[in-house]
């Protein structure tokens, strides 16, 4: 699953630790999500969407979905 987390974070000038703290997860969890090594749970994805005031599908894109 691709995501725009790194870009959205950079736009706000937040470090991974800053975003992690705002989400209640570790810096490593943010890094794992950004690099696509870990897919967040639905509650965490909703939390991200609320934080960035976006829809989940505007942050995460399913690579298998038809373009």
């Amino acid at each position: 699953m691709r995501n725009r987390l790194k870009v959205l974070r950079a736009e706000r000038d937040w470090s991974q630790a800053e975003l992690g703290g705002r989400l209640g997860v570790s810096r490593q969890a943010v890094n794992a999500i950004e690099t696509g090594k870990y897919d967040p749970s639905l509650p965490l994805a909703f939390k991200l969407a609320r934080l960035f005031e976006m829809l989940i599908e505007d942050i995460f894109q399913d690579e298998g979905a038809a373009q």
Binding site: W14, S15, A17, E18, L19, G20, G21, R22, L23, G24, V25, S26, R27, Q28, A29, A32, K37, Y38, P40, S41, L44
Partner: protein, 135 residues
Amino acid sequence: MTDGENFGTAKERLRRRRYWTLMGLALAAALVIGLAGRVLGTPYGPIAPAAAIGLAAALLLLTVVGNWVYFRSIDELEVAANLIGGFWGFYAFILGWPLWHILWRGGLVPKPEMLPLYAGAGAVAVAGFLWKRFQ
């Protein structure tokens, strides 16, 4: 805590400090139980029944309470890492014994022993946890 610019960083630092404090306390508790077992007798020698019950109860209580506190303080990546580590460790133990037993029956290895199997399963569980946590 205010919603300042570094609000998240401070919160994450606090979370990390809480996590490592918990790890330190768990290690200290394990050392105390280990030392108590050593003081009460030789590692494989007999100890008084009351002391055995006390040590077993302390270990059980600390494990249950410690895990309850631990799982409330970690994030979902760490939960996933624990799941992977637990899964690896479980299979290392469940499969390790019959594999060793079969090889022993074939005269290829020494007779199966519990302690290396226990330690090996623990090491595999830790490896699984670390792989998922820091991949």
